[in-house]
Symmetry: C2
Subunit: 250 residues, 2 copies
Amino acid sequence: MATAAESAGVIARVAVDSVETIEAAHRAGVGDVIIDVDVGMPRCGARPDHAGQLADVARQRRLSVSGVMGYEGHLQMVSDRSEAKERVAEAMSLLRAAHDDVGGDIVSTGGTGTHDLHTIGLDHPTGVTDVQAGSYVMVDTQYATLNQGFEQALTIVGTVIAHHGSRYVIDVGLKALGMDHGDPSIDDCKIWFCSDEHTTFSSSERTFHIGERVHVRPAHVDPTIARHEELWIIDDGEVIDRWPIDLRHW
Amino acid sequence: MATAAESAGVIARVAVDSVETIEAAHRAGVGDVIIDVDVGMPRCGARPDHAGQLADVARQRRLSVSGVMGYEGHLQMVSDRSEAKERVAEAMSLLRAAHDDVGGDIVSTGGTGTHDLHTIGLDHPTGVTDVQAGSYVMVDTQYATLNQGFEQALTIVGTVIAHHGSRYVIDVGLKALGMDHGDPSIDDCKIWFCSDEHTTFSSSERTFHIGERVHVRPAHVDPTIARHEELWIIDDGEVIDRWPIDLRHW
C-alpha cells in the first residue's frame, strides 16, 4: 500500500541511527531512510561500524535505504584551512567506510564552514555526493570570521527609542536574536548588552536620532530566523517580497 | 475626544523618557504616561534631574502624568543581600527625587531579584508603590541561584532521540531556548552542548531510553517563553490548561 507521501509523489526520506528510530520510521509509514553516521561530532549518528547492520534492519522492515549522511559539524569553524582539510578527510573516511557497508546513492555531509573542502563525486578525495551547506545564503557574524567571501545578508531592523549622549537603545533584544554565539553587531558601533526587548550600544563614529532604523547583524542566523514570522526580502533598498518562516515552531 | 482605549474603559499607560517619545505617545492617542527614569542601569530612562521637565512637556501636550518608573535591573543578581539592599536604596533615592519633581500616584520599580528589598508605600524606606516582579512565577536557573525559595515551574519537554552509552541527544535546542544566560539544565545530568534543534548531555546517575520525555530547565525564562506558541499548565502530572503566548512576535 502506498503511503500518503508516495501517493502525492513526494519522497519523504528520514535519517535514522538506531533500531528504535528505524522502527519509528516504519510505524510512521516512511518508505525511504538514510543512515546517520557519527563522524566525530558527539550528537546523533550511529557508530560507523554499526551502520551496515542498521541498513540490514531497515531493509528487513522493507524500507528503502538511500545511503549515508554524517555531518562534520565539529569542524565547521576550524579557521586553519590545511588543518580543516585534513580533519574533514579523516571524518569522510569514516563516512565512506560506512557507505561501503550501507550502499545506496547518497553520501551526504558538510556545511558552510567546510563546503570548499569537498569535491562532489564518489571518485573524488572526500567522496561525497551532497554538501548540505545552507548558512552561506545569509551568513552570520560567526561564519563571517572565516572570510569565505559570502555577504552577510540577514539583519534585524531595530528602531532607536532612547539616547543619552553617544549611548543608544533600540527595540531589538534577546527575544529577536539567537544568542548562543554571543552578542549581535551593528556597523561602527560597540554593543554594550542585550536585554529581553532592547539592545544598548554606543558609537563614536555615527549619530542616530530617535525613530531611526538600525540594522543589527545576528551572531547566529539559524536560531535568529526561528524567532521571527517573516523574512522581508530587500533589493537595492526596496522590499520586493515577504517570505513566511514555516519551521519556526520548535 | 476620547481615545479608543478610553472608550473601551482601558487605561493605556505608556512609559516615556524623552520629548520625542512624549510626542509619539501624543500622536498615537495615548492619554496617560509615566516618566521612565534612569536609576543606574544603562538602558532607557531619563536623567533623574530631567524627569520633572519631561512631565511638564507631557502635561503641555494634555497628557496625564501618573508618576515614575525606574527599573534597577543592574541589581537583580546581586547575591549579597546587604549589598543589594544598600544599592537598591541608593537607586530608589534617585527615583524618589524624580518623583518629587514629576508628581502622580505611581513610583514603580523592581523585579524578582529585588522584590524582598522593597516595602510598599511612599512612607517606607524605598518609597515605591509598585514592584514589577514577574519571573518569580516561573523562575529560571539563573534566578534560582539567589535561593529565594521560588519553585522552578517552567520546563521544556524534550524527547530522547539517540543515545551512545551514557550520552544522550534530545530534540530541544537553540530554537527552543533563551541562551543569553548559558546552557539549560537537566536534573542529574551534565549538559555537553546545544545545537539548533538538539541538546547533547550525559548522566552517570540516570538512564533514558529513546522516546522518553525529559524536562529541560531554561537558564532565562523570558526569551525562552517567547520561542513557543503555548504554555501547557500541569498540576500533579496532569495537563489542566493550555495558554497561548501572545507577546512572542518580537
